[in-house]
Symmetry: C2
Subunit: 94 residues, 2 copies
């Protein structure tokens, strides 16, 4: 599934759309996950192998309401040939 497709599908749900602002962060980093894999030209199966896990777990990570730990994020990125950095900025609102 493409990034656009993911977003568009999510936004078709009105509730989801109303919650979009709140969840934007989560959608964002899931998009980044998928984006890394797509840019790397890898299948879930291939990423799973590099992470020494199963493709179903990769699917869950990309589709479920993921709350992965840092280790999982790093491994996924590394499997796709990327590195992660945690960027911090002062919160504008809230």
């Amino acid at each position: 599934m493409s990034l656009q497709a993911l977003k568009q599908r999510a936004l078709k749900n009105p509730d989801v759309k109303s919650e979009y602002e709140k969840l934007e962060n989560e959608f964002h980093f899931i998009d980044q996950l998928i984006g890394m894999r797509i840019k790397a030209g890898l299948t879930q199966q291939q990423v799973a192998e590099k992470m020494h896990t199963q493709k179903s777990n990769i699917s869950r990570l990309e589709r479920g309401n993921a709350n992965p730990n840092w280790s999982t994020l790093s491994k996924y990125a590394q499997a796709c040939g990327f590195e992660l950095t945690l960027t911090v900025q002062r919160s504008s609102s809230t």
Copy 2:
């Protein structure tokens, strides 16, 4: 043998290198966590209250070999008045 030389020699071992980078990453983002709190001028107790948890858990997060999930990272950042972004860059080596 100097420390530098020792370090460089050690890093030629791929296993050691990956371990080292892993540790470096963890140190890095833990530093960022503490940095956020210090810049915000907050105590662990205060952050704990904003996160609706205990100060001992904050200490563990900052001192233990932490592998927090995204939700915990976000809450911590928000409690300190910051927002987190996952930054992705192509892996140079590996």
